[in-house]
Subunit: 201 residues, 2 copies
DNA sequence: ACCTGAACACCGTTCAAGT
DNA sequence: ACCTGAACACCGTTCAAGT
């Protein structure tokens, strides 16, 4: 058969490549059409609209979301997943946000939540508390990644602080605030979470 | 003197009213100009561009950010602030996001962080740990509000779950997932955080 | 069935002109 | 100094036409 120039798969694959290279905001209908050397309207044969394009691309990229390590103590599993998932989600802006909104529709994400729930149950949590505990870890990682993306995009990872008169504690710790220490704060917050879970278990 | 039709203040005030009524996305240059019965270009006399408009409006709205209650045990102060701040930030979409990016430039926010640091010091934290502890509470509240806004906007507070074959724990707790229980999860996550802080103090 | 081309609606914004 | 009006660049998208 004659190879048509486009297909749903080729559009999404090209979209994924574009998103990886230049970020999700660069994934526009016109931009992707130009990359495929095709008219913008050609894409509408294969996808309903621009949002469906972004959504399909993000779904595809999220197939690589890491799952829980099979072995280890529950709290160690949770900590390891948090670190792995954060690393993966940082590879392309918008992944964390999409996952926060659509995890319950994505097979891979459902698997992850299932195993987070498993860890929570091993810690002795049941019902709402098991859900809330696994949710706390899941959303913590995703929200943090989203925050880091926002800080980077807005160019406020490094800050010029104003005068701190009347704010002695901030002044004393000013060095800690001039650069957003996102790695250290991610880990500290994760530790608080884990210790909270440990105490309740 | 003749009352000019516009001024920086009148533009920002009208922008704040528009944002409160119809949300931040409705705060466009053209929309605000229409509300002020003026040409879009008239606004550029008073503000450099559309981003400056949003930013100034959000700065203005954030003057009402609550501060820490003066009295009480440190952990109770933190918990109370978290609840109050969440309530205020929910009044207009985009506030939490703006605060996450620009707190260090906003006098009121600096006051808040100063007093969060005070609570952390009362718990016995010093240096990086005091900063990280107060930051954990501060960002937790802001990130959660942002998440709730996203869920609302994307219309996924109520979900139609897919088949959960092979996912026994999700299936068992499906009722917990059909509606995003944002209030309960906010509180649970906050409790984990507070208990983590308590344990470390 | 698949793709093209011209056009429209909607942004923010620049530039030149009015008063 | 302040505001208007026309125009431009950039989106996504509809519609009619080509093959």
């Amino acid at each position: 058969m004659a190879t048509r120039t486009l297909s749903v798969k080729s559009v999404i694959d090209a979209g994924a490549a574009l998103a990886r290279e230049k970020g999700l905001p660069a994934l526009g209908v016109r931009a992707l059409a130009a990359r495929l050397k095709v008219t913008p309207m050609a894409l509408y044969r294969h996808l309903p609209d621009g949002d469906a394009l972004s959504s399909a691309v993000l779904d595809a990229l999220l197939l690589e979301l890491p799952v829980l390590p099979a072995a280890g103590k529950p709290l160690d599993q949770l900590r390891a997943w948090a670190t792995d998932a954060r690393a993966m989600l940082r590879t392309c802006g918008g992944l964390a946000h999409h996952l926060l909104l659509h995890w319950f529709e994505l097979p891979r994400a459902l698997e992850v939540v299932e195993s987070l729930l498993g860890a929570a149950e091993q810690l002795g949590f049941k019902g709402f508390e098991a859900v809330a505990a696994s949710n706390a870890v899941f959303t913590y990682v995703l929200m943090r990644v989203q925050l880091e993306e926002s800080l980077r995009k807005a160019n406020v990872l490094q800050r010029k602080l104003p005068a701190l008169r009347g704010l002695p504690r901030l002044a004393k710790n000013a060095a800690e605030y001039r650069v957003a220490r996102v790695d250290a704060h991610f880990e500290y917050g994760l530790n608080l979470l884990i210790e909270g879970l440990d105490r309740r278990s």
